[in-house]
Structures are given as C-alpha cells and as structure tokens.
C-alpha cells in the first residue's frame, strides 16, 4: 500500500492537457431535422411504414396502373358473391362488382379524407393552440373552454346530427366528411400545440429575441412555433390514421361518403349482406384499412422517437 499522504501526480505524457473548450470540428453540422432524418433512415419501423405509405400514395394517384377494371363498372348481378376468377383475384361483391378494383379505387377517398382533415386540423388547431398558449390570460381561458366544448362531443353522434342538416344532406362529398372530422378533432391538436408553446415561450432564447427588438408576434412565428413543431408533427401523423378510420366508420354508418364515391367504409358496409356466406368480401377492404392505419401509426411512432429531444446530443 502506498503511503496515504503521498502527493500523487499522473505522468503528464499519459494525461495530455487539451485546449480548454475547443470546438469539435470533426463532424458535419447537424440541424434538428437532419439529425432526426439520420436516425429515421436507420429504423426498420420507419422504412417499412414509409414504403407502405409510398405504395398507398401511388395507388391513390394512379389506380389505373393496378387494375384495368374501372370503378363501378362491369358489375353484373350474375357474378354476385362470385369466387375469384382470372383478372378478378378477390372475387365479386353482393352486387357483382370486382372486389379488387373496389379496394384499389377506395384508396383515393380514404387517403384524401385523411390528408385533408389533417391539414384542416393543423390550420385550426395550431393557430388556436398557439395563440392560447402564447398570449395566455383570458384569451387562453376562452379558447380552452371552446375547445373543451368540441372535445366533449362524441364523433358519431355529432356527425349524425351535422350530416342531417339540410346543407349537408343535399350535397354529401369528401368535403363534408372532412368538415365534420376537422370540426370535432381540432381541440386535440390545439391542446398539444398549446402545451408545446407554453413550454417554449418562457425559454431564454425567446427573451433574448425580444430584447433584440423582435416583436412579440414575430417571436411566436420565428422562435416559438418552430421549436414546438415536433409534438405537432407526431400527432398529425398519428391522427392521419385515426381520421381514415373515422371516415370508414361514418361511411359504414351511411353518414359519411355517398355511395357514388368508392371508399373502404362503403365497401365494408356493403359486404355486410354477405358476411355469413362470403366473409372474405369484407376482409379485403378491412385489411386495406388496417394496413393503411397501421403504417401511419408506425410512422408516427418512428417520428416521435427521432424527434425526442432527450435522445439528442447536447
């Protein structure tokens, strides 16, 4: 044992002194988004969901590439609940239409309802949430109560009431469904935005910007919102899936898209008649719906992990 009181000095050549606080210049600069992208790129969850979503988008934009049967054509009652044949791999519906073609053409309606609803919800929810969170006080109180009112309405019940209004009863379209969904779903987005904005608004960099002469609103747009984006993006991705389900639910109940528009919800509703004899007619649109929703939710999870500030290097 060495003497307890000795004065130990490490060999200097083994412990070289480095410049105090030198800037590391060995790595390429990384922004938050570049960093998130680098992390996402390597995650199987992201790759699978992104490929699926890409495929869905291509199907939605160019359904003609995947099926030669145009929608709502070639339906012959003679084929009712017919088994798969050449060129009709999924068989026929109760009405004698080609199931495969209907599933392919239904993609467009489902995706567009989902995307458009998310866009509307983003515009309404982020604006209201950001104003409420950033300015606080009575504005916040009023907007928060307003949000609570819409939050308390059950989707199906409210949709039933709204779609029975004369204006909507007459001209059902993708837009009416988007309107109903956005009207009922924005408070969730507003809440998340409000929370994120409150978290950021007291940061020193916002105070610093204000004391540089940036206006209060300018600081919200330039500094607060960009830093509050991560949870908003995650929620938007997750909600895309949720809204597609909502559209299917409404269409299934007959209060969503009109029969003239092909959608998975309508298909599932139509397949009810054959559920005992040919359950697989319902299986195909339902599977398409599940895969779509699952890929958006997986994407949301992957994005959430990638944007998690805790996992970021300081």
């Amino acid at each position: 044992m060495t003497s307890n009181n000795s004065h130990f000095v490490a060999p200097i050549e083994e412990t070289p002194l480095q410049a105090t606080d030198a800037v590391k210049t060995d790595q390429a600069p990384l922004s938050l988004w570049a960093d998130a992208w680098r992390k996402l790129r390597r995650r199987p969850l992201f790759i699978i969901s992104a490929l699926l979503i890409l495929a869905l988008i291509v199907i939605a934009l160019f359904p003609g590439l995947f099926t030669s049967t145009p929608p709502n054509e070639g339906c012959e009652l003679g084929n009712s609940e017919g088994a798969p044949t050449a060129g009709h791999p999924f068989g026929f519906t109760f009405q004698g239409c080609d199931v495969y073609s209907r599933v392919i053409h239904g993609t467009q309606a489902s995706l567009s309802v989902g995307l458009l609803s998310v866009l509307c919800v983003l515009v309404i929810g982020v604006t209201i949430g950001a104003i409420a969170g950033y300015y606080g006080g009575w504005i916040d109180a009023v907007l928060a109560r307003l949000g609570d009112i819409f939050f308390a309405l059950p989707l199906v019940l409210a949709a039933l009431v709204i779609t029975q209004l004369p204006l909507f009863r007459e001209n059902k379209s993708v837009w009416t469904v988007v309107f109903v969904i956005s009207l009922l779903a924005w408070p969730q987005m507003a809440r998340i935005t409000r929370g994120a904005v409150i978290e950021v608004r007291n940061s020193d960099f916002v105070t610093a910007a204000r004391s540089l002469g940036v206006s209060k609103f300018g600081a919200l747009i330039r500094h607060v919102l960009p830093n509050a984006l991560a949870p908003i993006i995650v929620l938007a991705t997750l909600e895309l899936g949720v809204f597609i389900v909502a559209e299917a639910t409404l269409s299934f109940l007959g209060i969503g898209l009109p029969q003239s528009i092909m959608s998975w919800g309508n298909d599932i509703a139509g397949a009810q008649a054959s559920i005992r004899t040919r359950p697989e007619i319902m299986l195909y649109p339902a599977a398409a719906l599940s895969i779509t929703v699952l890929s958006f939710i997986m994407l949301g999870d992957a994005v959430r992990d990638a944007l998690d500030p805790k996992s970021r290097q300081r």
């Binding site: 003497s3 130990f8 600069p29 020193d204 610093a208 540089l212 300081r314």
Partner: protein, 573 residues
C-alpha cells in the same frame, strides 16, 4: 469553517493511521465503460483513490471528468449502460465492484450512504419527509418510530423536526430539503458517505451552514466522506485530501493544502489559477491596463463623458401573489433600489436567490415594467419610450443570459443566431452581414467554421460565446449579464470572464453584471451592489466592499465564499 489550523491535526492522525489501519475505501485501477450508440466509451480509466476511516476526500473535476461516475460505481449505482470494466473497489478489503446486487443492497444505507446533488428532484414529491426517512430506516432494519425519525431529522439540523416530518417536500426550502437528504443519507450511520455536489444548487450562506453541519455530524459519527465537487476552493476547505480528475483519469492527488500551494500537474495548475473562489484580482488588473490603453486612444471628449450612464432611481416592482379565490397579496420583488452605473465600468449586483437581482435586470432591459421608480438611460427616462424609441434602445442595451443551453434557439444555426439582430434591425445586406458575423466570431475567439453548426453541437462555454457575439452584433453600449458565467466549469468561466474583460477594454462597453457569486464579482466588477430580499443593502467600489464590508449581510456573504481564507497564507508569503 475549517481552515489550516484545524486540518493539520487531522493530517497527522492520518500519518499515524497509515502504518496499521486498513483504508475504508480503496479504488484501484478502476475503469468504467459506457455503452452508447457510437460504441463503447471509457468514462474512467486508471482511477486510484484511498479513503481512511474518518477521513474526508474530495474529488474535483469539470463536468464530464468522471468524478460522479466514480462515486456512483462505489455505491454500485452506475446507469444501466455503464459497467466496471477493470480494477477493484475495495470496501474494507471486500471487492464491491464485482459483488452481487444482493450484497450491494445490504451495504447501501448501512455502510455506504449517499447525499445526492439536486435537492429539488431527489425527494419524492408525493410522500411526506418523515415517510421517506422511515423508508430508509426500515430498509436497513433500524427502529423507525416517529421519535426515531424526528431524531434523525433534528440531528441533520432541521428545527421542529416532529412537525416537519409530516410535511411534504414542496413545503421545504432548498436548504431544508438538502438537510432532509443529509438526514436520509446519514440515518443509518454509514461508515462512508458519498456526497455528490451536495450544495451546488444552494446559496453560499446556506451552503456554508449545510457543510458546517455535515462536517460536525460526520466527525461525531466518525464517518468517512467522499465529496464530489467542481469547486477546488470548497474541496480544499472541507477535505483532508483532494483528488483531481481530468478526462476520466486521476491527474493529481494529495493533501488539500499541499495540492493547492504546490500543484504539479499542468491541469491542476490551471485549475488553481482559475478557481474564482481563490482568485486574486487578476482580471481586473489586466482590464485596468486595457482601460489605460483605451483611454490613451480615445479622444479627450470621450473620457470627459465617462459619467453616469444608467441611473436607477427608487425602483420598485410589486407582484400580486394569488392566494385562492380573488385574494391576492402584494409581494415586493424589488423595493426602493437606486444606484448609478458609470460609462465604461462594470457594476455587479450580487444577491442570493430571491433577492430581486434578476428582476432589476429585466426592468433595465425593458422586459418588465417597474411598478414605481425610474430608469434613466443616458439621461432619458426609459419608461416613457415610444415603440420606435424602444426599438432603438434595444440596439444600445443587450443581454447575456445564464443558461447557455436555453438562450440559443436550437433550430437556428450559429450564423442565423448571430445574424438575427442585424436582420431585425435591417442593417446592411446579405454580404455585409456575413462579414460582420465572421468578425464577431473572431472577436469571441470561435472558429468561423462554427457558423454552420447548431447549438446542440457546442459546449456550454462555446454557446455562451455565441450569445456574447449575438449581443455584440448591434454594437451596443451596455451589456447586461444575468448570471452569464454561473453555469460554466471554472476554466471555461475564467475564459469567458477574460473575454468579457478584453471586449470591455477594446469596445468601451458598460456591464451590468448580475450574479450570486461574489468570487466572480471580485474578478470583474468595479462597483458592487449587494441586494437582500429586494432591497439594496450595500453599495461601493469592489475594493471597499471586499476589504471593509459595512453590513452584516455582506460580511456573511463574503465569509461564505468557500476557500476564501485558504489562499491568504501563500499570498502573504
């Protein structure tokens, strides 16, 4: 306070002890490895450490030096991705680095106690203090009745312990929470207490009380203490031996005073030179020289203008504290504060948390409106400024904030961050702004390649230099530093303080320096205002206040600077 006279006998006891007594804790060749995304990283290498029974040993080092990791290894609480990859940790001869978790559970609390760093987050907010003490006592099979709990708490210096035991952590102040944590750490009378920065979150006067009390208690119980700290002055004052760690290695170890007076390793030398609590008036002296050259260069009219630049008159700020429905009480955060700041000088406002010093800064920056009183900036009352005038005022007065991690927008790269003030004030075009940003980076001694980087890629000191560059972008006349160096490691802190002093000399800046750290004040300030509970208790030149403080509060603050007395002998010699 322990100073030279008191430590010497202890040292002698240790000398006698080395002949026969076995060390309580002996760390040999310790290596600790962490698994990270980028592979295995060695956090600690070849660490040696010996603690004799009853001895206090301090590990000193900057953040990331491995000091806390070493301590956590000694109590077997390394994070899941870390492991001891070499060497031994011998507790009374038993290797606890490679023992079972069962054995470690037996040892923790009973034999090795721990006082963690942050009193705010280390007590469970949903349980009463008494319950949390009882948990420890029960886990180690000790009597845990209400009286035992009260005894443990009162021994840690909590007055009225019986009643206090029934309170929740949020009802305790920071100092009281730290006492409760010390009570928990020492409740089972361990033979070794690991104190990881036990007072770094507390005010200096509270820090002193807590450390004094901890010392008395551990002396009575004969407990050995392993103290982890970043403050060399504090370590030297409280410990018998100091171990200096740097980049995961022990670079120097020895008796405290010996190490302080005769540092051998270049890193220790650097630390001793920079430790603010041990500081002389080095920077001020350097700066005075700088001022002289600036004076020589400046036209005569400029020097004549060296008058009162910023006048604070009877400043008062009252906040309404809500107390249930409709009820509100007034709380004066700042109460009747008046002082002057002269052009080209540094005025420091010193105070503990809650003294209202930051509120004064916010009012001077026009981020808060004073309830009463006036702020005259260059002879103009700032409260009467119209928006356009306020916009111009912002060009002349710029802040630097405390938290280097919070004051830069993480979404902006360094170029955009420094360029923002120029863009907001519509100064110059793209090319001239880029040139200006490059100049500013040179001024704060950052390489120009930093421009494309993001704040998360820089260290705390580098971020603070970016914040300084941003503040300088508009060529301001006054810079308000709100705890601008408090969050930095000592060496980096010294570097930033030097930078600030150089900039003042070159650019004739006026600083208003808000800080809780008197040691820093002595390094940088010409004038000091001491604040306590919203009131100004003492003002004067730095020399006056430090050499002959008039108020008891100022004296208490000065006495509480750790290690303040330690360096006096060598200076005399």
């Amino acid at each position: 306070m322990r100073d030279k006279e008191m430590t010497s006998p202890d040292v002698r006891i240790d000398e006698a002890g080395t002949t026969g007594v076995r060390p309580l804790l002996e760390i040999r060749d310790l290596a600790i490895t962490f698994k990270t995304g980028g592979g295995e990283v060695q956090a600690v290498r070849n660490a040696h450490l010996t603690i004799m029974p009853g001895e206090t040993v301090a590990i000193v080092g900057e953040s990331g030096s491995g000091k806390s990791t070493t301590a956590l290894a000694a109590i077997g609480l390394l994070p899941n991705n870390g492991r001891v990859s070499g060497g031994q940790i011998l507790l009374d001869g038993e290797d606890i680095a490679h023992t079972t978790e069962q054995r470690m559970i037996e040892l923790r609390g009973n034999t090795i106690g721990m006082v963690p760093q942050d009193p705010m987050s280390n007590l469970n907010p949903v349980w009463k203090i008494g319950y949390q003490v009882r948990e420890t006592l029960k886990a180690n099979g000790r009597p845990s009745g209400p009286d035992d709990i009260a005894k443990v708490l009162s021994e840690a210096g909590l007055p009225d312990a019986k009643r206090r035991a029934n309170q929740y952590p949020h009802e305790f102040s920071g100092g009281m929470r730290q006492r409760a944590l010390i009570a928990i750490g020492l409740s089972c009378q361990p033979r070794l207490l690991i104190a990881d920065e036990p007072t770094s979150a507390l005010d200096v006067t509270v820090q002193r009380q807590i450390l004094d009390h901890l010392e008395t208690m551990t002396n009575e119980l004969g407990t050995s203490v392993l103290l982890i700290t970043h403050d060399l002055g504090l370590a030297a004052e409280r410990a018998d031996k100091v171990v200096v760690m740097y980049q995961g290695r022990v670079v120097e170890a020895g008796p405290s005073l010996e190490l302080l007076r005769n540092p051998q390793h270049p890193y220790t030398k650097r630390l001793v030179e920079s430790a603010p609590s041990l500081a002389s008036r080095r920077i001020q002296a350097a700066r005075e020289q700088g001022l002289e050259t600036a004076d020589l260069l400046a036209p005569a009219a400029e020097t004549a203008k060296s008058d009162t630049f910023l006048q604070i008159q009877d400043l008062r700020k009252v906040y309404k504290l809500r107390q249930g429905l409709g009820k509100a009480t007034d709380f004066a955060a700042v109460d009747g504060v008046s002082f002057d700041v002269r052009r080209g000088t540094t005025t420091a406002i010193v105070g503990e948390s809650g003294s209202g010093k930051s509120t004064v800064a916010k009012m001077v920056l026009q981020l808060e409106k004073p309830t009463e009183g006036r702020i005259l900036f260059d002879g103009v009352d700032t409260s009467a400024l119209k928006p356009a005038e306020l916009f111009k005022f912002r060009r002349r007065v710029q802040p630097i904030f405390q938290d280097p991690y919070g004051s830069l927008d993480p979404m902006y790269n360094i170029y955009r961050t420094i360029e923002e003030p120029l863009r907001v004030h519509k100064i110059g075009d793209q090319a001239s702004r880029e040139k200006k940003v490059r100049e500013l980076l040179d001024q704060v001694a950052l390489p120009q390649s930093t421009m494309q980087r993001y704040p998360n890629e820089l260290s705390g000191g580098q971020r603070q230099r970016v914040a300084i560059a941003r503040a300088l972008a508009l060529d301001p006349e006054v810079i308000i530093c709100d705890e601008a160096v408090s969050a930095l490691d000592v060496l980096v802190q010294a570097q930033v303080l030097n930078l600030l002093a150089d900039l003042q000399a070159n650019l004739g800046l006026t600083y208003l320096f808000i800080t809780h750290d008197l040691a820093v004040v002595r390094q940088i300030a010409d004038h000091v205002c001491v604040m306590e509970k919203g009131r100004l208790v003492e003002t004067g030149s730095t020399d006056e206040v430090f050499e002959s403080p008039k108020q008891d509060y100022t004296k208490a603050l000065l006495n509480a600077i750790p290690g303040a007395k330690l360096m006096l002998p060598p200076e005399v010699a």
